[in-house]
Symmetry: C2
Subunit: 207 residues, 2 copies
């Protein structure tokens, strides 16, 4: 069982999908802790209700990145819980060198667009404003950039004429909640390999 | 029947799909001429075999755009044939102001990626090199930019571990050959409307 830490800043719906898959036996991972830079994030409450250790940490003085004392706190918590890999789930900070070097190739993120299109914040809104007709989500390894790491899996969803940012976001999230646990399972099983920028070894016919 | 001109520089497989759809009654358009900046392009031979007027034109001294005397030649040919709209089909030049103003909102292009990802040349190869897992194609109105105009339709295709540039390109082209005639039919029927960057009015459940 892969000892998995989850970092999030929001309501934690992707964490919930990971937890559900793990408890249903569809994901060979154990969520060992949930860490949040926001003490009032509902992801922490979800963890507590499920009996998963939940910790808020102070990331000040930085507002958009995890570095310095905040990063050190996270590294200490990850060590305390014996975390082997990290899933970012709505974590609203850029991960920096300290964490990346401690967990090289073992930090993944899910992003609500078909990267490299629409990196950054509110990607679903960016796609709608651009007039795209296909949106989607991407699970990728985390590197030094913003949403630039090697891509493990992507899934497309349509954009409809009547869509609002909320309706499109909901359609993307429904797909995220299936894709993220699947992708983590491929990682947990050790079946993925990175060749340059390409990640190989995922099943070719996704569920 | 929409009087449609097709501009291409290559083998003309997308022109063939347009011609086939028109002749099968699935597209309310008549291909009135095929114009190419390359006298040896097979798209001209396809047109001749099908009895569609085919013209090569000289676009020198420019290598990558259609402007000046070459543009004037194209405008004259389009007028001679009474063209009402233009479909670019593998046309390897940037369309400039003269043609855009004469056919504003009536020039469309098909591009082998899910724009705004991978504009420019050999988009399928760009997607593969990036490590994307979903590729696709985009039909869009043509504006002053390179692959930046309002998007009418997009379709996704998977990228597989064993893909080469050629295998991925073939998979995308198979989808292009269905999507381009469909999209032109929505334009021929006058059912599309542009609101800002969004193009509305396409059927929500594509065939």
């Amino acid at each position: 069982m892969l000892r998995l830490a989850v970092l999030g800043s929001g309501s934690g719906t992707n964490f919930q999908s990971i937890l559900d898959a793990a408890r249903a036996g569809a994901l060979d991972a154990e969520p060992v802790c949930v860490l949040s830079d926001r003490a009032d994030a509902f992801i922490l409450e979800r963890a507590r209700r499920a009996g998963v250790p939940a910790h808020a940490f102070d990331a000040a003085p930085y507002r958009t990145k995890l570095e310095g004392a905040g990063e050190a706190r996270v590294l200490a918590l990850l060590k305390d819980h014996g975390a082997e890999a990290i899933a970012l789930a709505g974590f609203m900070r850029i991960v920096k060198r300290g964490l990346l070097e401690a967990y090289r190739g073992r930090i993944v993120n899910i992003h609500p667009s078909l990267l490299p299109a629409f990196p950054g914040l509110e990607a679903w809104r960016q796609a709608l404003d651009y007039g795209a007709k296909v949106a989607g989500c991407t699970v990728h390894f985390v590197d030094e950039g913003t949403d630039t790491g090697p891509i493990i899996a992507q899934r497309a969803v349509p954009i409809l004429d009547g869509d609002t940012p909320d309706s499109l976001h909901a359609r993307i999230q429904a797909v995220e909640h299936r894709l993220y646990p699947q992708t983590l399972q491929w990682m947990a099983r050790g079946q993925l390999r990175i060749e340059g920028r390409r990640v190989l070894g995922a099943p070719e016919t996704p569920a």
